[in-house]
Each structure stands twice: as C-alpha cells, then as structure tokens.
C-alpha cells in the first residue's frame, strides 16, 4: 500500500486517451453508418425500411455489454474467428452508435414537413438535391441537441471497454484504487473527470437548443 500521489493522478488522466480514442472510433465509423441507416429508414423502398428498422431494433435491444461480449468472446466460439480486442470494441461501439444516432437522425429527417420535399421537387430539384439542400440542414438543426445527448451517453459507455482490458478512465480508476487503497478518493476523481468531460457538451447542447428553435 502506498499513498495517493501525483503519479496516480497523472495515470488517471493518461487513461483518458483511451476514452477519447474509443469515442473517436465509434463516431468515425458509427456516424456514416448512422446516416445510411437514417436514410434507409425514410426510403421509399419498404424492404429497405424494414431491414434497417430490424437492424436498429436488434442493436438497441442488446445491452452494450452484450455487444462487447459478443464480438470479443462470442465471435471465436460461434464463427471461429479470434478478433483483436480493439477490433471487437470498435465494431461494438460502431454498431451501438449507428443504431442510436441513426434513430435520432431519422427522427430529425421525419420532423421536416413532407411539404418541404414537395416544394423542392416542384422546383425541379432531384431527390438528392432536396435531401442535401432542403431536408438535411433542417433535420440537422432539429437533431443536434439529442445528438450531443447521445455523445454524452457514449463517453460514459466507453467505461464498459474496461472489461476487455482497455485501461481507459474507469479501468485506470480500478487500478489506482487497488494500488492506493483509496477507492473513495479515486472514484470521486474519476467521476469528476467524466463530469468535466460531459458538462461542456451538455451545456453546448442546451445553448444549441435555445439558439436553434428548429424553424431556421
């Protein structure tokens, strides 16, 4: 046993890089996928709509922990593929992000009145031009606050990656706590760091909400 020192403090902050890296990976792969899912969900093709809805439903219904387990421990058993931990978490967080962001963005797209598509079509714009210049900008503004809200969820959700051995913030807390026998102090610090990470986002989201009333 040793006392809580600056080194412990530093090691907690150092572990933040995995937290940030996991969020970055999840967004980098998950956001484009989410956009595809959202567009599929509002497609005119019923088959595509149902398929997308089913995918989203499945991912949303499985706990994030379950996704992580499946891709790390399940894949070797069911498919005989041993995946590196980083690949497993990336896939799991990507699907998690895509499913939730996809639904948020679909809601935003559907909240834009059908008449806006019509108005664009009547001016001779293609479906893509209507989407790109008329629907998407309005949907984006409507979706920004819940998108930021999800981002906060995602940041906290990265703590689950600790069970696959990633020394991100939560796992670093365990390690430091075990070494120093100061769990209260350590976890209070960990909580404070999460809070410091998420609070600006929440505040930003709130100011966006106030600024963008969805009408323009």
């Amino acid at each position: 046993m040793r006392s809580f020192t600056l080194i412990d403090f530093v090691s907690l902050f150092a572990a933040l890089r995995w937290t940030v890296a996991l969020v970055a990976l999840a967004l980098a792969f998950g956001a484009p996928l989410a956009l595809g899912l959202a567009m599929g969900r509002i497609s005119r093709l019923a088959g595509l709509r149902w398929t997308m809805a089913a995918c989203i439903q499945i991912v949303q219904s499985v706990p994030l922990l379950g996704l992580l387990f499946f891709f790390y421990f399940g894949m070797p058993v069911f498919l005989g593929i041993q995946v590196p931990a980083l690949v497993a978490v990336t896939v799991a967080y990507t699907l998690y992000t895509a499913a939730f962001l996809g639904e948020i963005w679909r809601g935003g797209l559907e909240a834009v009145k059908q008449a806006q598509w019509e108005a664009g079509a009547c001016l001779g714009l293609s479906a893509w031009q209507q989407f790109r210049h008329i629907i998407a900008p309005q949907a984006l503004r409507l979706s920004l606050p819940p998108t930021v809200g999800f981002l906060v969820q995602l940041i906290k959700g990265t703590s689950l990656a600790s069970i696959l051995g990633f020394v991100e913030l939560a796992r670093a807390g365990q390690v430091v706590s075990a070494a120093t026998f100061q769990p209260l102090l350590t976890y209070a610090l960990v909580a404070a760091i999460y809070f410091a990470l998420c609070l600006p986002l929440t505040l930003w989201s709130r100011s966006l909400e106030a600024r963008l009333d969805g009408s323009r």
Partner: protein, 242 residues
C-alpha cells in the same frame, strides 16, 4: 394544340374516387379558375398536372409532353411548371434570396454571379425587393406567399398552378397576393388556379371551371357562369359562396 390537355383522368385515394373522368384543355395565356366545394377534386386535379399525384387512368399532357409517362426528365418538366401552395412552403432555414436562387442555381439555369440580380428582379415583380435578406419567419403570411410566387418566377415557368394560395392568409393580406397574381395574368402567364376568391375568379379569369363530385360539372366565361348557371349545383354553390 392546347398548352395543357387533360383527357378522361381518373384518380382514386384508397376506396374514394376523387376524379371520375376529368377532361380539360387550357390554352396558352389563358387564366383558368377551378371552383367547387371541398372534396370536389379540384386540388387533386391541380396536383396531377405537375405529377405530384399519379393518375389511375387517362392522360395529361403539358406542351404536348405526357406528364405521367415514365418520364426521365420529370425534373426538367417541373422546372417549366410552377406551383404555389396554400402553406407557402418556403425553406425556413434559408433567407429569402437563397429561397429564390437555390433551384435556379442547382438546376444550372443561372450562374452564381447572376443569382442576386435574379432574386432582386423577381422580388421587385412581387413588390418585395426590400426583403431580399430577410428570413421567411420575419415575413407576414402575405409576404411569404409573394416570395413563394417569386421563387417560382425565378424558374421562368411556362405555366403557373395556384392551389388555394390565399386560403391560409388573414383577410387583410389576401389583396396583396391577388394583386401580384393579377399582374402576372396581365403579362400573359398561363395560370390555373384553385381558389375560393370569387371576386378574383370573376374579374381576372378567362374561364371558370366548376368541379363537382370529381367531374367538370360546368364551365364557361365568368360573366356567363355567374349570371346564368346551367346546373342547380353551380347555382347553389354560387349562392352559398356570396
């Protein structure tokens, strides 16, 4: 050849037959006003003309081109046919100028350098040149509707459709929109309107088409139709809308 030729058009929504064989010709430069009770099919007919609605049977031609054929150039077609809606449908996230120039720019009708001048030009025609930098929500209903008209004019359409464009406006704002439409009519624009504005129908239109139960029930020049309706349905409609 008429600019718009509608031949025996049938249209069903679910089990309701909204159009039961409508035929109608509109010549170039003509102002045709479609009147009738709600549910008579007049708005549906208008929406069929620029393929916002499909038709079950029959055909519609605009400038000789079949509207509901598998049209590769539906976009090109719609660039020539303007439609103004009851609810304005301006793009709320774009300023007035961009509302007007978006489609001409995206469809390659004009170059970027000419865009502002085009917006100024069409806004002047609807008397709103000073609103070019306004947001739609900063405008009154009447002004928004005039911007919507200007947005259509920017595409230099050959035909304009108006779907109850004054119905959502406060009474004191109706006049300014009708005045703009009257000016367009005088400049020779071919126009088909669905309206409840009997005064406008009487004074500006060349022809009134009375629709009833999904059919063209009666049509003719306004003076004759309003003075001597041939059918009891039209007579009662005129009486009720006075």
């Amino acid at each position: 050849m008429a600019l718009v030729e509608i031949r025996d058009v049938h249209k069903t929504f679910g089990k309701v037959e909204v159009l039961k064989g409508v035929s109608l010709d509109v010549e170039e430069g003509e102002i045709v006003t479609i009147i009738g009770r709600s549910g008579s099919g007049k708005s549906t007919l208008l929406r069929c003309i620029n393929a916002l609605e499909s038709v079950d049977t029959g055909e519609i031609r605009v400038e000789g081109q079949k509207v509901h054929a598998k049209m590769a150039d539906l976009k090109k077609f719609r660039q020539r046919v303007g439609i103004v809606f009851q609810a304005f449908n301006l793009f709320p996230h774009l300023k007035v100028e961009r509302n007007i120039t978006l489609a001409p720019l995206l469809t390659g009708r004009i170059e970027k350098a000419r865009a502002r001048a085009l917006a100024e030009d069409v806004l002047t025609r609807v008397g709103l040149a000073d609103k070019i930098d306004a947001w739609p929500e900063q405008l009154s209903g009447g002004q928004q509707q005039r911007v919507a008209i200007a947005r259509c004019l920017a595409m230099a359409p050959h035909l304009m459709l108006f779907d109850e464009v004054t119905s959502a406006l406060d009474p004191e704002l109706v006049g300014e929109v009708l005045k703009v439409m009257e000016a367009m009519a005088k400049q020779g624009m071919t126009m088909i309107l669905v309206t409840h504005e009997m005064g406008f129908a009487r004074n500006v239109a060349n022809r009134i088409v009375f629709m009833h139960q999904g059919r063209v029930w009666e049509q003719g020049p306004p003076a004759k139709l309003f003075a001597n309706p041939e059918t009891p349905e039209l007579a009662s409609f005129i009486a009720s809308s006075k």
